[in-house]
Symmetry: C2
Subunit: 111 residues, 2 copies
């Protein structure tokens, strides 16, 4: 598992990070909120921790996880050269997301 990009390619991991963005949480909380089996949560947290996305604090039997910003900063930095493409027209994203919503993921669409 290499880059920060590969880490956040996993939907459940992104969900975990998004939850931790608002506040730190224990494994059990994440498990309940996301409806993901506990071993799976622990596995993803392990990956996230090894990659530096989160760190844990011990609270009795609980392990409380919180965000570490550095790897996400890295992603943010990579995006920089592309921002010039949209810094102007801000609502293109909205249109794009709308299109994603309706369009069933087509294959082999020629252009």
């Amino acid at each position: 598992m290499e880059s920060s990009f590969a880490i956040i390619a996993e939907p459940n991991r992104r969900a975990i990070l998004s939850l931790l963005a608002s506040s730190e949480r224990s494994v059990g909380e994440l498990e309940r909120r996301l409806r993901i089996p506990q071993p799976s949560v622990s596995k993803h947290l392990r990956v996230l921790r090894d990659a530096g996305f989160v760190e844990s604090r011990v609270d009795a039997q609980r392990r409380v996880y919180r965000i570490r910003p550095e790897p996400l900063m890295e992603v943010d930095a990579w995006l920089a050269p592309f921002r010039r493409f949209w810094s102007a027209h801000v609502d293109a994203l909205e249109r794009h997301l709308d299109r994603m919503a309706e369009a069933p993921p087509k294959k082999g669409k020629r252009r």
Copy 2:
């Protein structure tokens, strides 16, 4: 291949996008610049196009590819809730990247 995040998880695809960020390029150009076999470049371009990251223009036998911003905007938008973690201390990224550079990707590092 689902999310935009999965698409940019691949290093060669990120390299292609980074090259296209500065200007549009033909398949051959990408092949030479990146030292990647041609079928591989075409495959990645196919994935990128299907996911909306690039579009192509025909120039004689050449296909010239250029960036389409929407999927990257999506990634940028996902990052928004995390920005509060680093909008203050800007140089944490630099320290992080330094650490990445020296530290050989260790396994099982406890915290």
